[in-house]
Every structure is written in C-alpha cells, then in structure tokens.
C-alpha cells in the first residue's frame, strides 16, 4: 500500500488561515489502512483544526467527507455538490488523490494534509516499512523475494557491501541488510548459485529515468 503521515498541524493551519469554509477529504483506501487519512483521521483533523482556529480567534467551517478512492475521477465526482460551498479543499489522501482533486476543480485551492511516504507493507500493528520503489522491472524473482532497490540503502545490484554486519545495514542497527536477507532466503531455497551471478547495471528508464510513466491498456482504454 501507499503509506503516509499527517503533516504537523502548524503547517496545515498556515495553509487554511485565509479561508472560512474548508472541505476536508479523506480516502478509504491505503491511507485508511495506515491510519493517516481515513474517515477517523478526517474527524480528528477537523476537530484539531477547528480548535486551533478557535484559539486564534477565528471560526472556520469544516465539512468532512471521505471518498471510496481519491485517485479515480469517478469518485471525485461525489464532491461536485459540495465544492461551491467551500473556499478551499484539504486532502488527506496520498499525493495522487490531492492531484486528482486539483485536476477536477480548477478554481479551488487544494492542500495536502499528509506527507506521502512510500510503498510498503505492515510489519506488525502500527509499523510500516518500505518494500518497493516501483522500478518498473521487478527483480524479486532473482533476489529471493527481497527487493534490493527499496531495501538496500545503496540500491546495490550485487551486494552486500562491506558495511553489512551481523545482518544489519551499515546505516543503522535497526535496519536489515537487504543483501543479508537475500542471501538467507536464497540459501533456504537452495539457490545459492544465484548469488554468484553478476547482475548488470540497472536500466532506470522503466523506473522513471525516462520521465513520468504511464500505462495504457488498449483493451480497457477509451
């Protein structure tokens, strides 16, 4: 999923200061799962912003709404009846959702309420870790199912580096060395020979090196 974290309240207050009526929009997908921008977080933020503004002597009207998905235009349409009665929109979705709202409502200022972090998985309750950087040419089949792009600090294609110690990456004791994990996993699979194969330098064009990426499915695209 895409993970995110709420921005500091102070930054959000700066965004909304000039406005009297705000639409705060959450998303029911990834940001709900990582507890950053779902219906509950929308309620908490609306309450917090309302109180912070009251303290500074201003009263702001905040409308709350959470969409099924903010990265699909079909769902954004749901906001049409609400948009004229507000001066600005604040989105609690990832950057994709924020941009979809901006694209749909040309004349409305739109602000992000969260910092979008990474594509990750939930390690345990309340802990999410980066797992994939969308490099466009997945290597997991060769690396025992552990990603060296997202999980190796140097994105080495042929690791580990000299800093790998006792399974940890040299950047910190709390970070697993991706290549140590790859080695362990290949051993378990009886594929140690994979480890000695030299992987050539990565072609970064599918990974964003050739500019913004797009997928066009001829069978689906209208």
């Amino acid at each position: 999923m895409i993970t995110a974290e709420r921005k500091p309240l102070e930054e959000l207050i700066e965004y909304i200061k000039p406005f009297k009526r705000l639409l705060l929009v959450g998303c029911n997908e990834c940001v709900t799962v990582c507890a950053a921008g779902g219906r509950k977080e929308v309620g908490l933020l609306a309450s917090g912003l309302h109180m912070a503004m009251l303290k500074s002597g201003t009263n702001i009207e905040i409308h709350e709404h959470t969409l099924e998905r903010q990265c699909d235009p079909e769902y954004i349409d749901e906001l049409v009846p609400m948009i004229d009665s507000v001066d600005a929109v604040m989105s609690m979705a990832c950057g994709c959702g924020v941009q979809e709202i901006a694209r749909r409502f040309k004349g409305k200022p739109v602000f992000p309420a969260v910092n979008t972090k990474f594509m990750g998985a939930s390690e345990r309750q309340g802990v999410w870790s980066e797992r994939c950087q969308g490099c466009g040419d997945c290597l997991l089949g060769k690396t025992g199912g552990v990603c060296p792009i997202a999980r190796c600090a140097k994105q080495l294609m042929n690791g580990p580096c000299g800093g790998s110690t006792g399974g940890h990456c040299e950047i910190g004791e709390d970070v697993d060395c991706a290549w140590a994990l790859i080695w362990e996993r290949l051993k378990e699979l009886g594929q140690e020979d994979r480890f000695v194969e030299i992987t050539p330098a990565k072609d970064w064009r599918p990974g964003g090196g050739a500019g913004p990426r797009k997928i066009i499915r001829e069978d689906l695209a209208e």
């Binding site: 309450s47 917090g48 109180m51």
Partner: protein, 151 residues
C-alpha cells in the same frame, strides 16, 4: 471566566472505575459534581475522537479510568488506552491545549475511595489550570454570536 467551575469528562471502564464510582456512592464518599461519567465497556473502547471531541465541545479536563495493570477484563485494553492517551496528549499540545488536561488513571472495582480521590484531584488540578482556551472561546462566541453546544 469568574467563578470557574471546571467541566470534566471521565470515561470509566465498566469493570473497574464505573463500579468504583458506585462503590464511592454506597460508601457515601463525596466527590466533585464537576466530573461527568461516561461508562465504556473497556477503557480501550475510548477512541481518540471521543477525547478530542470532548475538548472541542468545551471540556476543561478529561480522563480515562481503566483497570489496574494486569487486571484488564479484556487482557490488555487498559495498556492500549494508556498508549492512546499519550498520543492524544501529543495532539492536544499541537492544537495548543495543555497535555495535563488529559490523563489516564487506573483503579480496581473495589477502590471507591480512590475513585473519589482521583475525581477530587483532577478537579483541583484543572481548577488551578483554569478554563481551557477552547471553553473560553466557546463562551465568548456564545455571548457574541449564536449559542454553542457546551457540554
């Protein structure tokens, strides 16, 4: 706000603090009428939204009362509630509300005396702190504009 009487909301677990409040009553122990009790099936049933909304509606102090450590009817709900209270305290600070206005307390069902003591101490602490800035703003708005729903 002259003659300030704090509004305090206490979320009390059914299995401990709520029963302790009952016990305080049957023992004829007096505690301040400022404390409004809300019964919950477990202290971990209390959500961040409940706590934040209480302040938004004008509460000057809020506390969550759960079972003693290791005694939760649902295993560890009280410890989860304690963690939640800590995270909401941080959020309150961001908003500009003193973190001391929110507290987690623990007691057993038999501690009627402790219930009364906690209620008194919390009321006194909040009385010293004065009304919350939100309470003040709501009262101010009420006198100038339309009525605000203060609890």
């Amino acid at each position: 706000m002259e003659n300030f009487e704090p509004v305090i909301v206490a979320f009390c677990c059914h299995y401990c603090a709520y029963t302790a409040a009952d016990m305080a009553g049957s023992q004829r122990l007096a505690y301040p009428a400022n404390v409004k009790i809300i019964r919950v099936p477990c202290s971990s049933k209390v959500d961040a939204l409940h706590l934040v909304k209480a302040f938004e509606k004008g509460a000057d102090g809020v506390y969550v009362a759960g079972c003693l450590e290791g005694d939760c009817h649902f295993k560890n709900g009280n410890m989860r509630a304690a963690r939640l209270v800590e995270s909401v305290q941080k959020y309150l600070e961001e908003i500009g509300i003193e973190r001391e206005r929110l507290e987690m307390v623990m007691m057993s069902a038999g501690m009627g005396y402790r219930f009364a003591q906690v209620a008194t101490e919390m009321t006194e602490k909040i009385r010293k702190l004065g009304p919350s800035s939100i309470h003040v703003a709501l009262v101010g708005r009420e006198s100038t504009l339309q009525p605000a729903g203060i609890i």
